[in-house]
Symmetry: C2
Subunit: 447 residues, 2 copies
């Protein structure tokens, strides 16, 4: 008997080009085939140029729910998976698809912890025209978003919440794939978005997840239909991956709350946590998301009970206390929390006023986000540093009645800014009409 004939029979390895072709032609890949592609991305047996062709084929042909779940699982399996089963209490997280002035996480994480949940929140940086939770938190001097697994565990055990960045050991395939998607025009694909979000949430140790899918001019999903599609794909994939999941569709045709800009948003959060009140839309979305989290975690029998508990914990100062503990644990300046004048100051602080009588009927919310970036409050390339002082605080929201001279916004501009030019750009992003128009509903749908 020859050596060859006594060798164990091993299955032929998959050929990347054949798998790309299968997807290109609308076929359905098996779990093993998807696992092969993602593992190959990490070990180098599948080339970047093959992955990017595959991603473009997925952009055009999509993935079945089963493929999306396998894709999520493959990315999860590419790295470490945190488990916090020794910590009592349900582990529940929230994920937002991103919007202008979306500062919910900073209020919600300590609020949910104050209600008895454990919130292992891994958040992101600014992306496209929207800001990022990590960038906002770093407006607090010393705040460290890079906790070790052990410190993260300790924060969850002793406080019940922490907000950190994605560690190197978590879903490395997702990090690599995301970088590839970013430069190959393959970001906007539902199954790829689902896999990216959910692999990280599964890895961070969440048992349930509540999604805030933003819809409107200041969100990636411009229409309710698009948003609903994404929410449904996320919920379906999450369930197949053993993650309980609910979702809100919320409106993003104007900034959420009053402040836009990293430091200004943190200040708005601190004020809401300290006083228990603030912008009604920010509060409403936060309370509703917290209620869904509490229900998903099994701490309340229904959403109504969840809303009641959340409102109490926001009002009684226990969320505020959790926030202070979290900031202290993560090395942030607690002095700043009690003395807001310590936040970085913008060079120019100016009021911009209504120039005609009418109603605020529309806002180009994406343009507001782009202005923040152009002011230095966001990144154009990953190496850019962020100016936490710039931004806007709105005094009027959609539907407001205006007479000339009414203050619409306080603008915080950097040194050297051409104030007149910025005001012109800002005013151009607003529509003031003679007739009041229906203000879009804040919470569009609960799925």
């Amino acid at each position: 008997m020859s050596a060859a004939s006594t060798a164990p029979s091993v299955p032929l390895p998959f050929r990347p080009a054949i798998l790309i072709q299968k997807k290109r032609d609308g076929g359905t890949l098996t779990d093993a085939e998807i696992q092969f592609l993602i593992a190959g991305l990490i070990d180098g047996s599948v080339a970047d140029y093959q992955l990017s062709a595959f991603l473009m084929a997925v952009y055009f042909k999509g993935m079945t729910p089963e493929e999306t779940a396998a894709f999520t699982r493959a990315m999860l399996d590419s790295g470490e998976r945190y488990r916090f089963s020794d910590i009592p209490g349900p582990k529940v997280d929230k994920h937002s698809t991103g919007g202008i002035g979306d500062k919910v996480s900073m209020v919600l994480a300590p609020l949910a912890a104050a209600c008895g949940l454990v919130v292992p929140m891994m958040a992101g940086r600014g992306l496209g025209f929207t800001g990022g939770t990590l960038d906002k938190l770093e407006s607090i001097a010393g705040f460290d978003v890079r906790l070790s697994k052990e410190r993260f565990h300790e924060a969850l055990r002793t406080i019940g919440c922490a907000i950190i960045g994605q560690s190197e050991s978590i879903a490395p395939a997702d990090r690599k794939l995301y970088a590839l998607r970013d430069v190959t025009a393959t970001v906007e694909s539902l199954p790829l978005i689902c896999g990216s979000i959910l692999s990280k949430k599964l890895a961070e140790g969440a048992e349930a997840l509540v999604l805030d899918v933003k819809v409107g001019s200041g969100a990636f999903m411009k229409s309710k239909d698009q948003g609903r599609k994404l929410a449904k794909a996320l919920i379906s994939t999450a369930k197949k991956s053993g993650l309980k999941c609910r979702a809100l569709l919320t409106n993003m045709d104007q900034p959420l709350g009053t402040a836009v800009g990293n430091g200004l948003e943190i200040v708005e959060c601190i004020e809401m946590l300290r006083t228990g009140s603030g912008a009604p839309d920010l509060k409403e979305v936060t309370i509703q998301l917290c209620a869904l989290m509490l229900e998903a975690g099994g701490l309340v029998r229904n959403v109504a009970a969840g809303r009641k508990l959340a409102a109490e914990r926001l009002a009684d100062g226990s969320a505020w206390k959790k926030f202070q503990q979290m900031v202290e644990f993560q090395g942030g300046s607690t002095r700043m929390l009690h003395d807001l004048s310590l936040f970085p100051k913008a060079a120019h602080v100016v009021e911009w006023k209504a120039m005609k009588r009418g109603f605020l009927t529309k806002m180009d919310n994406e343009e507001i986000g782009r202005m923040i970036i152009d002011l230095g409050g966001g990144r154009k390339k990953t190496s850019d540093t962020i100016d936490p002082s710039v931004g806007f605080v709105f005094h009027k929201k959609l539907g407001a009645k205006l007479v000339p001279g009414d203050s619409i916004v306080t603008a915080y501009l950097p040194k050297g800014a051409d104030v007149r030019a910025w005001e012109k750009r800002f005013q151009a992003a607003l529509q003031i009409g003679p007739q009041r128009k229906a203000v879009p509903k804040l919470i569009l749908e609960t799925l």
Copy 2:
């Protein structure tokens, strides 16, 4: 004045991801944008993984005729362009999309030269399930397909034809892109095929081109519609690129001529050139292509006159003389041309016979091609060497009436071949039915 404000204003470079997105969304790229992508592939400013995503987007969204011409031009401009304006006579080439037993080039190039054309033919290796002209020619001991530009020029000047491989300096972008397409499932795209073929033909110095677009079970294009689409795209792109172009659609539901396999095909060509006769289908396609080349080159007033001239030059031995001169010039053994017994001999030469009465109604021609590869007469990977001795010589073609015992084929098999198993596989590729079926037309269309 600061240094920055006195700097000359340069246009912003294109961003690859934006161009990929434009194509992904069905947009039309400008000449400059296409030029940027192809030049970027060569200088490294556009990454392979971006090109492959772009190629997949082109696969789905296509290219306009203008984009295809710009793409062709960009690939042409990536390398050297041969010009033979000092050699008198029209420079006309032929390109076939490839088929089983397609040995036309070996007869046609010397025939066209004998009629007064200059034929600067750059040919290819075996691809997929079809053989390659270069591989076939290398069955002649010593035949060198890698002539320098100077030697190529000399061959064209003194003989009027030469058949060589694509030199390193010709369309390097096409070579790089083709390698990328091969491993990213983006080969089958009309504009990409057009650009690849035509950039090389423009670079080799042809002024006119005649296409033989093969259609049928032994061709890449299985249907007449597909073939016509490709022919039209090629003609339109060629014209936009200043290359005169005609095309034949010819049937590929059975091998062309009688022989399939590298050495066997050369022997068939030698016999046709030497005697002026042979398989009617091979002769007809060759004469018709030559007539179109002569018309395109302006040496005859119409195709009928071209057919007459071509038939004369094949019959009077002048094509045979050109072939011998070409082989000698390219270092090939002229002794073999006169003593066919010097061609490599297969280990097994067997007759396979009809096992039942009926008509030969169908042939899986692609399977015939795959058998040649599996016998060692083609490559599974680029590093494989080719056995020139293996193959088939057919004694019956589609429509033939068979009685049991009639010899269908002589098979030339390599040492160690399981003759019974090969016969079984061969017989399975044939359909013998009780009723005569219409034999597909050989020349389906002239465009």
